[in-house]
């Protein structure tokens, strides 16, 4: 279901995009002697859903860690909306509008669901310790934030749970909460690290709809995922990593036929089901 934005984009690693929001050049991360990430060039199209796939150990999560400031680059640069962000701490990257979620969900267990949500809002007056002591200074802002949080909770079907501890939610609900909380930070790009992992099939559909809706609202979504059905279902563009490098880019249809991709998967894990992509690439 490649959208217009990708019509004239060549399906090859590092191909230029029509409207690039995030670009990476010569990005390298080494851990001792191991090169975890070595990406020559990559551009991410704005307001699209880009799926990042690859066999285990391909460097997908490390790549996420690098572009969100959670890990330091060994070499190379990356730009978000034309601004270089390597070496910028994670919290500043998030404030600039590049927000991530985590593979292992980080719901804040002993905070209520609504407090988890309210935490996500940026620029809160009451987060300054001196102003925090004077309730009238922040109470109006707090009410606005709470109203916005309640809206999102309703949309993500978590409103009934708003006063429960986040630790009391199921695994799938925590994934939803984490996504909703990330939206409270007003991101332009949202990086979802395996959003469907450990989520029961019933909830998967609802999560997929939420991800699609993010795009409709103008966000750019980058996500790491192992489930090929999910990738096929929601991604406009697929980037394939193996051994730290980008080995292919393209629509999911072209990726499924790419020999380098098949080799990368079969060389490491035979059980990955690439068939669904090849068999009916034009569904959706």
């Amino acid at each position: 279901m490649a959208t217009d934005a990708f019509d004239d984009v060549e399906p090859r690693p590092g191909s230029p995009k029509r409207d690039t929001i995030l670009s990476v050049d010569g990005l390298v991360r080494r851990f001792g002697g191991i090169t975890a990430v070595d990406v020559d060039h990559l551009e991410i199209q704005a307001n699209a859903i880009t799926g990042l796939i690859g066999p285990n150990g391909a460097g997908k999560t490390t790549f996420f860690n690098l572009i969100t400031g959670f890990d330091e680059v060994t070499a190379g640069t990356f730009q978000f909306k034309g601004e270089r962000l390597e070496g910028v701490p994670a919290y500043k990257v998030a404030r600039k509008g590049l927000v991530r979620t985590f593979q292992l969900t980080k719901a804040l267990s002993k905070l209520s669901v609504i407090d988890n949500m309210k935490l996500g809002a940026v620029g809160q007056t009451g987060e300054n310790p001196f102003k925090a002591m004077v309730r009238p200074l922040w109470v109006n802002q707090e009410r606005e934030i709470e109203a916005r949080a309640d809206e999102l909770l309703k949309r993500f079907k978590l409103y009934d749970k708003r006063d429960d501890y986040a630790g009391e939610l199921s695994g799938g609900q925590r994934k939803l909460l984490e996504m909703a909380r990330a939206l409270m930070a007003d991101p332009e790009v949202i990086c979802l690290d395996e959003p469907m992992a450990g989520v029961n099939p019933a909830l998967t559909q609802s999560l997929l709809q939420h991800v699609k809706q993010l795009k409709d609202e103008g966000l750019t979504v980058i996500f790491v995922e192992h489930d090929m059905d999910v990738v096929r279902d929601i991604s406009d563009w697929v980037v394939v990593m193996a051994e730290g490098a980008i080995i292919a880019e393209g629509s999911h249809a072209s990726i499924g036929k790419n020999q380098a991709v098949i080799d990368a998967y079969l060389g490491t894990s035979h059980e990955i089901d690439l068939g669904t992509i090849q068999l009916d690439p034009e569904t959706h």
Binding site: T68, F70, P89, A90, Y91, K92, A94, R95, V99, R100, T101, F102, K106, A107, L108, S109, K110, L111, D115, N116, K118, L119, G120, V122, Q124, T125, G126, E127, N128, P129, A132, M133, R135, W138, E142, Y165, G167, E168, E178, R181, A182, M184, A185
Partner: protein, 329 residues
Amino acid sequence: MNWMGILESTLEAMVTKNAVVFALAAIGLNIHYGYTGLLNFGQAGFMAAGAYGTGIAITQWAWPIIPAAGFGLFLSVVLALLLGLPTLRLRADYLAIVTIAAAEIIRRVVKATEYRGVTGGSGGINGIGRGFYDANPFSERLDLGIVDFSARQLWFMVVGWGLVVICMLLTYLLVRSPWGRVLKAIREDEDAVRSLGKNVTWYKMQSLILGGLFGALGGIMLTLEQQSVQPDQFFTPTTFYAFTALILGGAGRVFGPVVGSMLFWGIMQFTSVSLRQGIRNGHIPESVMDGVQAGQVPLIVAGVLLGALMIFRQQGIFGNKREVALDGN
């Protein structure tokens, strides 16, 4: 056995010197550990900064009490910055190691003979004078029947508990604010908070400074009460008395550290006085325990009670059972 005497001295211990000093120190630890999850094992160091800062300003520069106490508070902020800058970026365990070592270094340094001129060496600072008690508006004892207090005790209690109430109020105002929400979130998972655009290291520093200031207030009150500073009062167990008080009362609760401190010193005094009476009256034969050995027992009893509490009421007296149940998740 003189049970009224035991009751009187237990009640007195629950509201006087140590109860106040350790309530303040434990309120500080509550900010660190209870709300932010920072393992500060060097609260004694912050208390020492407050105590010695005040003592030195009074004896060396003849400052009045309030600015002298301000100097003690200032030193505790400096200490928080020194400890926090290199360690707060690291995992929580590093802070624990650095703080426990730093508190010991402080005690050894102020005890050193080289600095006798300023810190009084192992003898401590003794010339602090009666400034605090000269301001005492009370002139008569207060008799409440079971227990009575001297005019000096009354003055110390009014100022000390006044400070405790102010610190509790500050804690209450802060932890229900968005600032407190960030601290509690850091306690749960730092990286999640970072991913939402909060400068986690700086929040942890603010927490370390604030809790350290409360600890320093405890040290200052100790100094003013006894009109002296003794280096060995800031040994490592001091930190753990404050931790025991905090855990007893319930970490992450506004009243937890205060009630915990009162109970801790109440239990210590009750055990100590009952045993001494029992030995003196022959109820406890010498073959079981003599007077010297009895001195060690209160801590054992406190330890056993704390152990029992951890088994039967993990959240402490004020804690929230629902929260503790989430720990497994």
